[in-house]
Structures are given as structure tokens and as C-alpha cells.
Symmetry: C2
Subunit: 456 residues, 2 copies
């Protein structure tokens, strides 16, 4: 065959080498384990939904990847890749409501696709790791406090740098705006315009927010109160602003309950705090909202966000399914942590022990037996099966970041020499050391070594 196909990455679709994928997989299974410890059950929805399901809420149309067959096919004419896991969850809950037990605690770790212009740090395919607690008809406010507790445990288990979860309630701003008749879903677009303006305070400062509000024709009576609110540092400050404006205090009182409950549920006080600039652009949140920042890496943006929605599935049913949840944007977070050297990516294989073959013809069975016993005790082990020189075999182990290489031949397997017990030479490629270990002791020895902190 002549002309070969060019091999190139499609931009925005990340692909890792095995060392990165191993680390990403450790991340994912740590998250999964923490979510399960708190009783969240896994679900997975198809990558593909009907286009009208995905566009029901509007807003995302321009980013949707459609899916179809080259030859027209009615059944696939209107399909597309999901762009988040919340819309599929809404469809799932309605579709299977009669077979689910409520409160329905589900987690979902899947890739999502967004047809954004590819740019540094923006992916078109990425993992989201979501938890949500969905009620049928109602869901107690204490679950709003539970969500940050789960995320705290998860981030602790991931051993990522110090972080803080910021929390607010949409109802606070809603109460303030209602004093001038502005309500959510307002056809004037005022409600969303104010959300967007206040959301920028942290990055651009209060003066920019004021200018944005003026530009958006926000009623002049409201502007000072909104700007004040955005700068409040604590609940009492916010209460004062709302009282002065004769606004409803329900939002701030609910937030107070959530903060107190979270502390009772074991949330460290320094990792959760109110932030009244937090509004979140998405229009489905109706109460509590969360964003999470890595301390000192605020420029990364929020790495874990979410909130409460009074009605998850309003586009599909008249039944009410209120819920609260949060999503870790895993691919982005993982990639940033690797770039900042927070993640160990030194091994390219799960293998912990390479059994080298010094004399394949004579001792094949012995080498295979050693590997089998290591695996039986849960230690990933490979026998170097190709007929290459010993130095190449050790080179292979070293290139892949395999920690131990075992070497044994005539001398090691000779029963006369070692009190009737075969031994092996264990080369520790990480510490550049070598020890002689009896074959019977080997699995225990390796396990102990792997559990010791490495001194590098």
C-alpha cells in the first residue's frame, strides 16, 4: 500500500499516555469510593440523548455535537452527545421514577462533550463526577449541608492542595430583587443580568459590578444594595443589607441553617464559607449554590460547582423532583494538578514486579510460578516472556517505572546453597538497591516494601 494516513490529535479531545491514565484512574476510583461511602449509587446514561431533550432548557444549543448516520435513518436523525450529566439525570429520574427509591442518591462519572472552540485548558471531551440527591415532592434542607461534607471527604482522599467551598443562596438576591418586582424568569432578562453582574465582583471588583448594573438598566434604587451585598463578608452583614432594603430574609436564614448543619455533619469551618458574589449563571438553581476554589490557585476558577434546584424535571413532567447536587470537573482539575506537579505520574504500568528470565530453557516453570504466587496475593506481576538479554529485561522494567525486578538462576534456585530453600535477587529500581529474599517470603516482602513510604 502507498500513501499512509496522517495521524494527528483532534484538538480538544485529550488523550493521555499510560502514566497519566493510571493517575487519572486512581483519581476516579478515589472519587467513586468516597461517593459510595456516603451511599450514592452509580448510574450511567447513554452518551447519546434525543436532541430535543438536550435543548429543552435552551442555552447550550451552539455547543451540542449531533450524532447521525451517513445514510439517513429516522431513528438516529435527532440524536446528540450529552453536554452535562444533569439533563440526562432529569430524563432518567422521570423515566424510571416508579422503580427508584427516594430520596434518590446517585453519582455519575462519565465523559461529556461540548463543541467549544478548543483552547488551552478547554476540553471538548471531559469527565464530570456528579452527585445529586433527588426527592419526590420534597427534599430536606439538611441535604444542602451534606453535599459539601461529601466533597470535603473526597478532596481530602484525593490529597489535593488546600481548598475552600464557597456557598450562597439564590434566594438572597431573589429576595432583594423582588422588592423592585424583578423575579426569576423575568422576560426583561433583568434577573439573569444581575446574576451575571454580581458573579463578576470577585474577579473585577465592586466598581465594575456597579458599572455593569448601570449598563444593564438595573433599577437605580437596587444598585447600591446589590453592590453592598456582593461585598458582605458574613451572614450578619447580609442580614443588615437585606433589612435596610426591606427584603425577604428567607435566603440568608436558610443559608445559616445549611452552614450550621454542615458543621454538625463534620465539615471543617475553614473549608466552607459564605460568599455573596456567588450567583452562578445557569438558570436552573433556585436555592443554595456552591463553588470550590483551590487556595492560591483561584485563577483556575471553580473546580467543583453545583446547587439546589426546586424542580429538576419540569420539562418532562408535572411531578416535582427537587434536588441538590454538585459536579467535579475532573479532566480540567486533574490536568491542572499534573501541570503543577501535584500528581505522581512516574509509573507507566500497574506492574510492581518484573520477573526477569535468566535461563528460560531451564527455569521457565519457576519464573511463572513466582509470578503466579505474587498475583495470587494481589501484586501485579509480569514475566518477561520475550527471549531478550537480561540487561534489556531490566531496561524494560526501568523504562516502565516498574519498582522491582527479580533475578534468579542456577545459583538462586540451587537448594544446596540456601538451606533447602530457593531464593531470588530483588532489585529495587527506585532505590537502586538489591536484596536476597527467600521465594516463600517474597509476596510478604514486596507488600511490605510497597507500603513503606519511599524515601525519594
Amino acid at each position: 500500500m502507498s500513501g499512509k494516513l496522517k495521524v494527528e490529535q483532534v484538538s480538544g479531545f485529550p488523550e493521555w499516555l499510560p502514566n497519566m491514565r493510571l493517575a487519572e484512574q486512581r483519581f476516579i476510583s478515589t472519587i467513586q469510593k468516597q461517593y459510595e461511602l456516603f451511599g450514592f449509587a452509580p448510574i450511567e446514561t447513554p452518551a447519546v440523548e434525543r436532541l430535543e431533550v438536550l435543548t429543552a432548557k435552551g442555552g447550550m444549543q451552539r455547543q451540542i455535537f449531533t450524532v447521525g448516520k451517513p445514510e439517513a435513518d429516522d431513528a438516529t436523525a435527532e440524536l446528540a452527545l450529552h453536554f452535562d450529566l444533569t439533563v440526562p439525570l432529569a430524563r432518567y429520574v422521570v423515566q424510571h421514577a416508579d422503580k427508584l427509591v427516594f430520596p434518590f442518591r446517585r453519582y455519575q462519572i462519565q465523559k461529556v462533550w461540548r463543541g467549544e472552540r478548543a483552547q488551552r485548558g478547554r476540553f471538548r471531551e471531559f469527565y464530570q463526577c456528579d452527585i445529586d440527591i433527588i426527592g419526590r415532592g420534597k427534599i430536606d434542607l439538611i441535604h444542602d449541608a451534606e453535599i459539601p461534607v461529601v466533597i470535603n471527604s473526597t478532596f481530602e482522599a484525593l490529597k489535593i492542595p488546600p481548598f475552600k467551598i464557597f456557598i450562597s443562596s439564590r434566594k438572597i438576591l431573589a429576595g432583594l430583587l423582588k422588592t423592585q418586582g424583578i423575579i426569576p424568569g423575568d422576560p426583561s432578562g433583568q434577573f439573569v443580568a444581575v446574576l451575571r453582574a454580581i458573579d463578576k465582583t470577585q474577579r473585577d471588583g465592586a466598581e465594575k459590578t456597579r458599572e455593569a448594573l448601570v449598563a444593564e438598566n438595573t433599577p437605580a434604587e437596587l444598585i447600591p444594595a446589590i453592590v453592598d451585598l456582593a461585598q458582605c463578608a458574613c451572614l450578619d452583614d447580609a442580614r443588615r443589607v437585606l433589612k435596610n432594603a426591606k427584603a425577604d430574609l428567607i435566603g440568608v436564614e436558610e443559608l445559616a441553617i445549611v452552614l450550621r448543619s454542615a458543621e454538625k455533619l463534620g465539615m471543617p469551618a475553614d473549608r466552607l464559607g459564605p460568599n455573596f458574589t456567588l450567583a452562578r449563571g445557569l438558570d436552573y438553581y433556585t436555592g443554595t449554590v456552591y463553588e470550590t476554589f483551590i487556595t492560591g490557585k483561584e485563577a483556575w476558577g471553580s473546580v467543583c460547582s453545583g446547587g439546589r434546584f426546586d424542580d429538576l424535571a419540569e420539562y418532562f413532567t408535572t411531578q416535582r423532583f427537587p434536588g441538590v447536587g454538585i459536579s467535579i470537573g475532573l479532566t480540567r482539575l486533574f490536568n491542572l494538578l499534573v501541570e503543577s506537579e501535584y500528581v505522581d505520574v512516574s509509573t507507566h504500568t500497574p506492574t510492581k514486579v518484573l520477573v526477569a528470565m535468566q535461563d528460560r530453557a531451564k527455569f521457565l516453570d519457576d519464573y511463572l510460578g513466582i509470578a503466579r504466587r505474587l498475583r495470587e496475593s494481589g501484586i501485579p506481576a509480569e514475566v518477561y516472556l520475550d527471549p531478550d538479554r537480561l540487561s534489556d529485561q531490566i531496561g524494560y522494567a526501568s523504562d516502565k517505572g516498574i519498582r522491582f525486578a527479580l533475578i534468579a538462576g542456577e545459583r538462586e534456585f540451587s537448594l544446596d546453597l540456601h538451606d533447602g530453600e530457593p531464593v531470588v535477587q530483588v532489585k529495587d529500581l527506585l532505590h537502586q538497591s538489591q536484596e536476597q529474599v527467600s521465594e516463600a517470603e517474597l509476596p510478604k516482602y514486596i507488600r511490605r516494601k510497597l507500603e513503606e513510604p519511599t524515601n525519594l
Copy 2:
């Protein structure tokens, strides 16, 4: 809002309730663990490849789902969902060859998409679980023996019913056909026609194969030998047929080496055997081929298939990357095993213990503390946070298949009553029994109970 969107499944895209997804996830992590024990490293490739990469080999065009944006966008104009994990592997190996260590042992567990007409047991979205060992330039025949050993360990760990891996080599038939000048890639299509005819012998019998060969205009001199070969039971039978036809014996001798090596590597003799009807339609195999059948469920078809290819990446590069691998069609196998009641799908949550709240106002901290200590010892635990009656709380545990419910109040937490130690009532909802356990002993007690075989 009026008119609600209809909620319905897109046919061919399976979606499980949490109990099924929990079981599927156990399957996947068992497979993953076994693959890793044998030193296969994980990779993941994007769901999306360039269309020309997917169609390079031909054959699958009609089943490919293309991906695009509603508004034309050059960068996404020619993208499609992958239909297997072998083509992406080929592209990955060429693209990253200089950063990989060979032999490259990789596993890949991902969904693939095929636009087939949906029908019972045929999915358009399903999981494949692949392992492959790829060499650069060369790869020793012993790896052909290693593949069934890994699958044997994996299927044992999955605790599925008895199975047998059938093995043959493309070279056997190739040697026979070469005696009449028919070679792979023959423009007459004879080579592939014979493969397809012989592949059907097991299901339809030797007479049908003969008829198919006649219909395909296979040279008359060859037909008796092909039909004889298809009916051979052992290597010696095959050697005799080939010798009579004056055909090359390399295929049968290589197969003999693979079978002997597999036995040495620990493969039970009754789970691996030659089958000369096995040809596999796909045109990229060049040597060993495998298929796996569940004993007594042969009608399910092969649940795990693969083989050796002399050149994985010929469409992308002039470098040679020979390899050998196999793929478990997980979604189909899992679904069939569930339908045949081989899989436990009785729990709808990972939660093992529900901490009920008898007196939320007074003992909230105690309930939360109990749950926290259970989680700290790795036991998934939930506190029932909503203010519902005790009977509703127990009902929730029972509906979700949670094994234990803990009940404690004034009497249990009173230090005077229990030698200065608080206790809890542990309801075992599986065995309908109840025991009083000291709070300090609780994690150990639960762990022990979970490890005991259930007597139901």
C-alpha cells in the same frame, strides 16, 4: 409551562437501574483488576476519531455514527464515534510510539458505538474490555499463549459459568489455500469467502460448508480438504489433512507451540482447545485466533474473541507493530448473565448500613458520629437525614436492599444501662434478625457479618 417532552429510551442504547449498574461496575472492576495483575496498563482514547481513520480498513462504514455540529465547523466536519477499540489503538500506538515502551501491554475498557439495526441482544452502545500486547518490529509467539491465561483468570474471578476458549491459526487454512494459489487479500475474494464458509461449520454442519464452497466457486481440488480440516478434532488430524494436501505445516506447528506454552503458563487443559472451524471473518488477523463460549450457552455466540495481527498499523506507518489481543463484549455478556440469573442484582445502593434517626433533636451528633466511624473503616453508611417516621426509614433501607439498619435512642445511648458503653440495635434486613452491639464494636461486627456467606 404546558406541553411536556416525551421521555423515552432511544432503542439500542441500554440504560440500567442502579442495582444493575452496581453489578456491571463490579464486573468491570474485576476485569480491570485481573488485567492489571498481569501488567496491562490502562489507556483511554477519545470517543471520537477522524472519520478517515475509522474507515481506513473498510467494512464498517455503514455502522458508523458521525459526529458534527449543527452549525458547520471545519474542525468537526469529519468526526465519528469509534466502533471498536482496535482501530483507535492502532492510531494511538503510531501517534505515541516514541513515548511507549515495547512490548506495550495495554488494556482499554470503554464504550463503543455501532449504528446497527436495533434488535434483541444487539446494542448500539456497549462496553468492550480489550487487552493487547504490541511489539515494535516483532512479538514472541509466547504472548499468543499468554492471552487465554489472562482471560481464564478474568473469567474465574468473574465467577461466570464454565467456559472454553477455542483457538486456531489463520495460517493453517492459508497454507492449504496457497497450494491452489489463493492468498489473503486475493482480489477474487476467494480467501475471505472460504473463511466465511468454514466459520459456519460448527453451527450448520460440514455439508452446508461444502455447499457454500461450491457456490463460491472454490477450486474443486480444495473442497474435500477444507471440509476435512473443519472436522478435525486435534492437531494430529489437522497435520494429516495438510500433509495429504502437500500444504505448509507452519500454522499447525505454531498452534502446537501456543497450546504447549499456555499449559506451561497455567492454563487448565479443559478450558483451551483447538477448533479448526474457527476462522473469524475480520480480515486483520494473520495468525492465532480465539473465540470463547459459555458451556451450554453456545447459542450466545462467542463472548470473548481476538487474535494475532502481523501489522496493527499498516494504514498509518511503514513501521511494523505486530500484536495479539482479545476483547470481552461486556454489555452483551453481562446482560445475558443477568437474564439467566447468574448475577446478584439485589441491592440498589452501595450503602451497607442505614443509621436511622429515632430522636434527631437529641442525638443527631451521635448518629452522625456512628456513620462517620463506619465510613472511616471503609463501610458505606448513610444517615437518614429527612424528618420521617422510623418505620419509613426502615422501609427506605429495605426498598434499597440496604443490609443493616441501626436503631438507637434514649435507652441505647444511656450509659447507666450498658456498663458505661452506648449500644445500638442492629437490624439485619436480609436475615430478618436483630442484635444489640456496643458502639465501639460496631465496625468490626458489620465487617464480619458482611464477610460471612449469607445463608439465603
